[in-house]
């Protein structure tokens, strides 16, 4: 049952085609090299992390979902390896393993990354910048956007659409709400995933998902009782029933969450006014100045000013630095909802796109202050950076 193999192509035709693609590739590389050289002159040390990377950090940070887009392989000793799907994590890991870990350090890179894409080649080029350990966050954020704009200008797209969001604003809003911790967890997660937040809010307001008839009686009886005693009771019940804790969660943890459910109440609902507040918050958009004004007004009206003050100060300070760098902030489109579904951002999120083309990003980046901790750093290290889609820019921008 062997199927006929692919026909052997005419060698001359193949040769000519290869020459053309090599030339094209060399031109494209040279143009990108000029860009990276400018980053080096600006003080960013050029690094070239290994192409073959341990798969663990990518799966851990981006979730199992990224597996379908990654090129994975297994080493003879069983370690799972991958062709790097981005350069942020490899640059971060190399930085943490270096002698300057924890200190301020600025890097730039240029090279291939590998992701399965149904509509484009799996191997493509990215250039970019990673800046670690800078305490002047608002200034660093503005510098990233400015360097990103230099990249599109270098390729002949001088005025791309600039879209920004700020994940820290939503996090501050939720932290400031008077809600049980379980719901705060839930809402932060809802914001971060790509599903429809409105649907999730509906579900929370209706409380439909929290009906648990089987334990309703026990939960109601436990509600309002002395937490310590209730905790001991649940722990005892489990051991009397002869149920051993298997699978990593301790009996204490199980009891805690069981009691947390009772605190929520068996038919708990998200208060309507909270839902209204979240929806109003997420509908705010405009240029950064308009956005900040609308947010301050909303905060005043709903007595959320203390919760949002620090994130808003940071936001406005960043806008100031953008102006100082000569960026026309009237052109920047800000939306509180932008940044949903992005993997590990904690503050600024930005994308530069070509208004005349598809919405695919030409440059994308932002701030990820928790990334290095999650990669094993003992203390938090601020991190900000962006990646440049080289081939897309070369096509959209046209000839040099």
């Amino acid at each position: 049952m062997l199927k006929p193999g692919p026909q052997t192509p005419d060698l001359n035709v193949l040769g000519t085609a290869m020459d053309a693609s090599v030339t094209q590739r060399q031109e494209s590389d040279a143009r990108a090299e000029t860009l990276v050289a400018s980053y080096e002159r600006a003080g960013y040390v050029r690094v070239a992390p290994a192409i073959l990377q341990p798969a663990e950090p990518f799966l851990d940070l981006s979730g199992e979902d990224i597996r379908r887009r990654m090129y994975l392989t297994t080493a003879p000793d069983g370690d799972e390896l991958c062709l790097r799907p981005d350069l942020t994590i490899p640059v971060s890991c190399d930085y943490l393993a270096s002698s300057v870990a924890g200190k301020a350090a600025n890097y730039c890179y240029f090279g291939p990354v590998f992701r399965h894409r149904s509509d484009a080649a799996a191997e493509f080029l990215q250039a970019g910048i990673e800046s670690f350990g800078r305490a002047d966050k608002a200034a660093a954020d503005a510098e990233m956007m400015s360097l990103g704009l230099e990249a599109t200008a270098h390729y002949g797209v001088p005025t791309p659409d600039i879209q920004i969001g700020d994940v820290a604003l939503f996090a501050s809003l939720i932290a400031g709400l008077d809600l049980p911790p379980a719901w705060k967890r839930r809402l932060i997660k809802d914001f971060n995933r790509k599903t429809n937040l409105a649907q999730d809010l509906d579900r929370l307001v209706l409380g439909g998902n929290n009906a648990r008839p089987e334990y309703q009686g026990v939960l109601a009886a436990l509600a309002g009782s002395d937490p310590k005693g209730a905790h001991a009771l649940v722990t005892d019940l489990l051991s009397i029933a002869g149920i051993n804790a298997v699978g990593g969660r301790s009996v204490g943890e199980i009891a805690d969450r069981f009691l947390e459910q009772s605190a929520l109440g068996a038919s708990a609902k998200l208060p309507r006014e909270v839902r209204g507040l979240i929806e109003r918050f997420l509908s705010i958009q405009g240029n950064p100045d308009e956005g900040a004004a609308a947010l301050r007004a909303l905060a005043r009206e709903t007595k959320m000013t203390p919760a949002l003050a620090s994130a808003l100060d940071q936001f406005e300070s960043r806008t100031g630095f953008l102006e100082a760098r000569g960026i026309d902030v009237k052109r920047v489109r800000f939306s509180t909802a932008f940044g949903r579904g992005f993997d590990y951002y904690t503050g600024l999120v930005f994308e530069l796109t070509d208004p005349k083309r598809t919405g695919d990003p030409l440059v994308a980046g932002g701030r990820y202050d928790e990334l290095l901790t999650r990669l094993g750093a003992a203390n938090p290290i601020p991190a900000v950076g962006f990646a440049v889609w080289i081939e897309r820019l070369a096509v959209y921008g046209g000839a040099p």
Partner: protein, 323 residues
């Protein structure tokens, strides 16, 4: 025809027995002319068909590659092993054996976990408390990923497990599992319970066609013959033949019976002698015989059917629509 038409059937165990019985009932006797240990066979009386005996997972990958035309394999393997399965294969018919539910199971001690949204919450707080993600042991990596993703669950890691998956939580290599639960007894014995809305797939053995195989006129003709017999047998099993004789006109009676008992009238109205032939679902047979006797039938006979061939060929139509 330069290449043979290949039908792939499971090479081992209960699946092989069930598949052979299934084809035999359809009048398609699988033979191994060169002895029982041979992995190539034929169908008695049907030239041009090669029967390939393979493992269920090989059958699945051969179907995906278009290297065999038809095959018998579990839907769980099809969904797990073939990306975009519906573009590569056509699931023609569930065969009524090889039932297996792919489920999410967690330790019984997790009294706070009943639904997938509990798992969503628990996985996130586990990562925050333990600084690592919960592990899910499974051999169904793709099914698990898609299912968890549909619930928005992100804080978990898959640990590939090729056997004795239900022992993973007790062994400390995972916190929960995704596995087949045929009865649930194995799960209970390992201190696990199925999550309420955690059934990923209700799977059974399926007759599957490869869209990527060569489907010329000869191959289509052979598939038509095989599927015609399979359909005739399937229809025969779904009905009993009920015969009764009436003196008077039966038009109203048949209309009533159709409404009440889901019967079919394969030969239309009664014969000149007043004999009516009806096809009735097995669970309605007794009620129908009562109804017929109350309405004037003197005697009613009920018989099992061998085959019911009809002009249409629904299974072949399904294949053709999918190719």
């Amino acid at each position: 025809m330069s290449e043979p038409f290949v039908l792939a059937v499971p090479a081992k165990g209960r699946l092989q027995e069930n598949a052979e019985t299934f084809f035999a009932r359809a009048g398609l006797t699988l033979m191994k002319p060169r002895g029982a240990r041979d992995y190539r066979g034929a169908i008695a009386g049907l030239d041009g068909v090669e029967v390939a005996y393979l493992s269920a997972s090989e059958i699945t990958s051969q179907l995906a590659a278009g290297a065999v035309h038809l095959g018998v394999t579990g839907e769980d393997l099809v969904r797990e092993m073939i990306p975009d399965a519906d573009k590569r294969v056509v699931l023609i018919e569930g065969l009524g054996f090889g039932f297996a539910n792919v489920v999410v199971a967690v330790p019984q001690a997790w009294i706070d976990v009943r639904t997938m949204s509990d798992i969503d919450d628990v996985t996130t707080s586990f990562r925050q408390h333990h600084d690592r993600k919960m592990r899910v042991a499974t051999k169904y990596i793709n099914l698990t990923r898609d299912f968890f993703s549909s619930y928005g669950i992100v804080d978990y890691r898959i640990v590939e497990s090729s056997g004795a998956t239900e022992g993973a939580p007790a062994a400390g290599t995972a916190e929960m599992i995704v596995d087949i639960a045929t009865t649930g007894a194995t799960l209970a014995a390992n201190g696990l319970k199925v999550v309420e809305d955690g059934t990923i797939l209700r799977s059974q053995a399926n007759l599957v066609a490869a869209r990527g195989a060569t489907w010329g006129k000869d191959e289509r003709d052979l598939a038509r013959v095989i599927l015609d017999r399979v359909a005739a047998q399937a229809r025969a099993r779904a009905f009993r033949e009920v015969r009764a004789r009436f003196a008077a006109s039966t038009d109203m009676l048949v209309e009533n019976a159709k409404r009440k008992f889901n019967i079919e009238t394969p030969f239309g109205g009664p014969t000149a002698a007043g004999v009516l032939t009806l096809h009735c679902p097995p669970d309605q047979v007794y009620a129908l015989t009562n109804f017929l006797r109350e309405n004037g039938a003197e005697a009613v006979t009920v018989a099992e059917l061998g085959y019911v061939f009809s002009r249409d060929n629904p299974l072949y139509a399904k294949l053709e629509a999918g190719l």
